[in-house]
């Protein structure tokens, strides 16, 4: 019996050996299959924009020479024309020259001209398409906040590039013709009338004129109602993560969804309609000043794009080398703001040398116009009095403009005109019928 068992075992061993040989023969290294759908189309949330589509003046002020001033804001046709034409202008013969209040009084209050005000200090190297000799200009004026073009009284045009942050200005000769300037001024006549409010210069910067242009008359404004659309999380996940297949998600106690691949994190603040993106793989090395803005714009382009009319609202440089770039969406020339930071169209990026590390943006976009109703705003004098009552000196005012306060309803959003006060510290205050007496803090800075 035993012998039979041994023979049987021997036969089984031979068979197993033969089978094992075949398996060795046929065995291939253990390989993972290539994924079937390896290539994921990048999600398109909005459209891509060029650098100067968003790095555009937040104010285009028309000086008509008769003591009146009008202003065009992003999202208006006139602003669009000027912003496009501006890219074709060239400037030559940069010469450092103080841009004093006297100069402003001579050219702006009594003369005619255009004044382009940017949301932040723009590196002049970015303006190379404007014919800027950056090699010559950059050492003198690295950044520019406003560009003014005036009739010089001699039949020619004269331009000033002004850096509020540096308190410097350079004079230049634009290639713009007087006829063109006149045509722009003619177009700008129909824009919102503003009052020029010279502001005392800070100590040590007496050579630099600072002027606020605020809407002059109590405007007859309209309160709008729009449907809005919430951009789905999946679109952001696809656009923000390198490999959306590796994403793990979870819901926090407060209901916010969190997506992460272990290195990048996206937190969706549902009720606030905000997205917070954090990429810890970005090297925290100082970013070159000229590069931060373009890196921010490219980042938004490559991660979903733009969903409205955006303009650079603020650009700050941190002492540790990072840059913070804030864009704001405009509708009919009014920036969209929200209470307690829940802005529609808000977009803010923290740029390091290694790339964008933090990205915050709104997750909604306006859809169909639903209706409007007329409303009124306090007169600017009342606003200024209110500010005085709040002990806010005019020199602390960065900009005082009209804005739409967004209030989200079930399926639509109400856009209510308010006064928007932006302080030099970055603080924003909303003043209006509904926002009056309430001191809102935007909290971005």
């Amino acid at each position: 019996m035993w012998e039979r068992v041994k023979t049987a075992v021997l036969s089984i061993l031979v068979a197993l050996s033969a089978a094992l040989s075949w398996m060795l023969w046929d065995a291939a290294p253990e390989t993972l299959p290539l994924e079937g759908e390896t290539y994921v189309p990048t999600a398109s949330i909005g459209e891509k924009r060029g650098l100067f589509d968003v790095v555009t003046p937040v104010e285009v002020v028309f000086h008509h020479g008769d003591g009146t001033h009008t202003a065009a804001y992003p999202g208006t046709p006139i602003h669009g024309v000027i912003a496009v034409r501006f890219r074709e202008w060239t400037f030559q013969g940069f010469v450092p020259e103080p841009y004093t209040r006297t100069v402003w009084e001579a050219y702006a209050r009594r003369g005619t001209g255009l004044e382009l005000v940017f949301g932040g200090e723009i590196p002049v190297t970015l303006l190379q398409p404007l014919g800027v000799d950056r090699e010559a200009l950059a050492p003198v004026l690295p950044t520019v906040r406003r560009i003014v073009v005036y009739r010089d009284g001699k039949g020619g045009l004269r331009a000033y590039w002004v850096s509020d942050a540096l308190g410097k200005a350079v004079a230049a000769r634009p290639n713009l013709t007087t006829q063109a300037l006149d045509a722009y001024l003619k177009m700008g006549r129909a824009s919102l009338r503003v009052e020029a409010m010279p502001i005392a210069s800070p100590n040590g910067r007496d050579g630099l004129a600072r002027v606020l242009y605020v809407p002059a008359d109590p405007p007859r404004v309209r309160k709008f109602r729009y449907e809005y659309r919430t951009i789905p999380d999946r679109a952001f996940v696809q656009s923000l993560f390198v490999n959306p297949r590796l994403i793990r998600s979870g819901r926090e106690a407060d209901g916010r969804m969190v997506y992460t691949d272990g290195h990048r994190t996206v937190q969706m603040a549902g009720k606030d309609y905000l997205l917070d993106y954090y990429d810890r793989t970005v090297q925290m090395t100082p970013v070159k000043q000229p590069d931060g803005l373009s890196m921010a714009v490219q980042f938004v382009n490559r991660h979903g794009g733009w969903t409205g009319s955006f303009a650079l609202a603020r650009l700050t440089q941190g002492e540790d080398g990072r840059q913070r770039v804030r864009f704001r969406e405009y509708l009919n020339g009014y920036p969209l703001v929200g209470p307690e930071g829940r802005d529609v169209g808000r977009m803010e990026l923290e740029v390091w040398g290694g790339g964008v590390r933090v990205y915050t943006r709104s997750t909604v976009c306006l859809e169909r116009y639903v209706g409007h109703e007329a409303t009124a705003l306090p007169h600017v004098a009342d606003v200024l009095r209110q500010l005085a009552a709040w002990h806010i000196p005019t020199r602390d005012i960065e900009r005082l403009s009209l804005a739409y306060l967004c209030r989200y309803r079930e399926t639509f959003v109400d856009l209510t005109p308010v006064w928007l006060l932006e302080r030099t510290t970055g603080e924003m205050l909303l003043i209006g019928q509904e926002a009056e007496t309430r001191r809102g803090h935007h909290g971005l800075e």
Binding site: L24, T31, V40, V242, N243, Q283, T285, D291, M295
Partner: protein
């Protein structure tokens, strides 16, 4: 088929194949893996080096793309670039930005540019870790080497270069190598099977011979011998087996002879043997035992031993069988004299276990009879000596008390004392004579003697006594008797005893005749009287020592009771025989036959 697979040959072949396959497996697996690793490493190094080169080349472009956002200008036509840096045929190359979006691809058939590359390798590369894997392309079934290396500037990852290169050409080479190895392996296995079968035959053939020889031995044929093929272990086995066969044959013959001897001994031994197993059942009995026990052998086999053997009345059969020992029982056999059996039981033990018993039955009738006769003889001697001594003592005491002086009683009592003394002397003389006969110390001094003269002398000796008692005593010699070699004195004693007895028990007027005649090689002497005769039941015992038909009369007549016994011993010592024929009331005839001695007769003729 089943028998084939039970054979050693099949096992040897299977073991050969198994070992060879195992060796081929290990060697093949090791060599193939080593070759594969070599090719794979070479291929991987090539692809990696070219990928690193391409990554270094596109680094400035990706840096500009990351900083300025300008479209990546990779320095011209990508296929040209790829052919310049990646020379692996059929490889697919992609340049990817740090967001995973493909900026350029060598083959953009799927319009992958602008899409995200979801390969894990790319993901890891964009985290700064070069990654290489071997994957399987489900579309083509090809194994592909996927390499993704990060494009860095400093520590910042700008993007990645991803290369997917097919490994199939390399595996084609490996496949051909495997084919060569497999073909060699199959040929080796076949060759091993053939050689194994041939070699196993050299082993199994002598074993098969041994098996056949074993079968023949089982049938009793020890004459065959295994053929020796070689001088190796198998040959030694064959020799050992042949030696074993011879030894076994001799041992079986010896055993058979011993068995026959034992059977013969058992069958012919005078003692009976009965063997019982551990349960006490008879398993062996010889013929003698069956005879002694009065049953057939077949009837005894299987019976309990206690039921077969006779036991004394005072012995428990179970104890007798169980404890062993020996005893003597008396068996009555009808009219014959009783037979005495000595039964000795010996337990058979193996270790402490009792395996059975053996009972040996011995017929001790002779010994027992002799013993009884000895005891009777001693009693008789004692009695015969005590009687005259008592008489002598009585008479001597009377004489001592004063009868000695009595003229009548004194001599008479002295004569009685003398007679008793003579009687004791005769008795002692006869006893001494018997003792010498029994101890073989008795020497016959035969001389050629004339029996006629001897008988005449005896007749003359008793003639006076016969006349005194008025008994006719005659001697009749039919022919001239030849001389015979006799111890004259002892034969004279025989005939004196016979005539004395005849005269004692023959009354007055009776006749006592002595005759002698030659009877062939014998000489027959007959003493016939017309006395009282001897009862038939006493006839067989008249020659016994101290046996008297009429004890009182015999003792009165001065007999010792030993005369006939001595006479018979003397006649037997001469090679003759003595027979008594008697009838109560009509007389007794005693016939003595003595052998003739030719030499003595010749001498007698010469002297006559």
């Amino acid at each position: 088929m089943g028998r084939l697979f039970r054979s050693i040959r099949a096992k040897v072949v299977l073991v050969y194949i198994l070992l060879l396959i195992l060796v081929l497996q290990f060697a093949g697996a090791y060599s193939v893996r080593a070759i594969e690793q070599f090719y794979l490493e070479n291929f991987r190094t090539t692809v990696r080096a070219q990928t690193d080169l391409l990554a270094a080349h596109v680094e400035p472009y990706l840096a500009a793309y990351a900083e300025k956002g300008v479209p990546a200008d990779l320095g011209g036509n990508l296929p040209t670039l790829v052919s310049r840096f990646v020379s692996v045929i059929g490889s697919e190359v992609q340049v990817i930005d740090r967001n995973g979006t493909i900026l350029a691809a060598s083959f953009d058939t799927g319009n992958v540019v602008g899409k995200k590359n979801g390969y894990l390798e790319v993901y890891r590369a964009l985290l700064g870790t070069p990654t290489e894997t071997v994957r399987n392309d489900p579309g083509t079934g090809d194994r592909v080497q996927v390499v993704a290396v990060p494009v860095k500037r400093g520590d910042a990852v700008l993007g990645a270069v991803w290369v997917k290169a097919s490994l199939e050409p390399m595996y084609g080479v490996l496949h051909r190598i495997n084919g060569i190895l497999a073909t060699a392996g199959v040929l080796a296995v076949v060759l091993a099977a053939v050689l194994g079968a041939a070699l196993s035959r050299t082993i199994t053939r002598p074993i098969q011979d041994i098996i056949r020889q074993t079968d023949a031995m089982a049938k009793g044929d020890f004459t065959r011998r295994v053929r020796i093929y070689s001088d190796d272990e198998i040959g030694q086995l064959g020799r050992a087996f042949n030696h074993l066969t011879a030894r076994l044959q001799k041992a079986l013959a010896d055993h058979e002879e011993e068995r026959e001897k034992l059977a013969s001994v058992l069958a012919n031994m005078q003692d009976g043997v009965v063997a019982a197993d551990s349960r006490g059942r008879v398993i062996l009995v010889n013929r003698r035992a069956a005879h002694m026990l009065g049953r057939t052998e077949d009837a005894l086999l299987g019976l309990p031993l206690v039921e077969c053997l006779p036991f004394p009345r005072d012995r428990d059969p179970e104890d007798g069988v169980g404890a062993g020992g020996a005893w003597i029982v008396e068996q009555e056999e009808g009219a014959h004299r009783p037979r005495f059996l000595r039964i000795a039981i010996t337990p058979i033990r193996r270790g402490t276990a009792r395996r059975g018993v053996i009972a040996v039955l011995s017929d001790v009738t002779e010994q027992e009879t002799l013993e009884r006769e000895r005891r009777e003889f001693v009693a008789n001697v004692s009695h015969e000596l005590r009687t005259p001594l008592t008489t002598l003592k009585s008479y001597l005491e009377v004489l001592q008390e004063g009868v000695m002086g009595d003229p009548e009683l004194g001599p008479r009592f002295l004569r009685v004392a003398q007679n008793e003394t003579e009687r004791m002397i005769r008795l002692v003389h006869d006893l001494l004579q018997l003792s010498k006969i029994d101890s073989k110390q008795w020497r016959m001094e035969k001389t050629p003697t004339s029996l006629s003269h001897l008988l005449y002398q005896v007749k003359e000796h008793f003639q006076f006594q016969a006349d005194a008692r008025n008994i006719a005593l005659t001697l009749s010699l039919a022919d001239p008797l030849p001389p015979i070699s006799l111890d004259r004195d002892k034969m004279l004693q025989v005939f004196d005893n016979l005539l004395s007895n005849a005269l004692k028990y023959t009354g007055p007027g009776g006749t006592v005749s002595v005759s002698a005649r030659a009877d062939g090689p014998w000489v027959t002497v007959t003493v016939t009287d017309t006395g009282i005769g001897i009862p038939a039941e006493d006839l067989p015992r008249v020659f016994e020592r101290f046996y008297r038909v009429d004890k009182a009369r015999s003792r009165e007549l001065g007999g010792t009771g030993l005369g006939l016994s001595i006479a018979r011993e003397i006649v037997r010592a001469h090679g003759g025989e003595i027979v008594i024929d008697s009838e109560v009331g009509r007389g007794t005839t005693v016939t003595v036959r003595l052998p003739l001695d030719e030499e003595a007769r010749a001498a007698d003729v010469g002297t006559g």
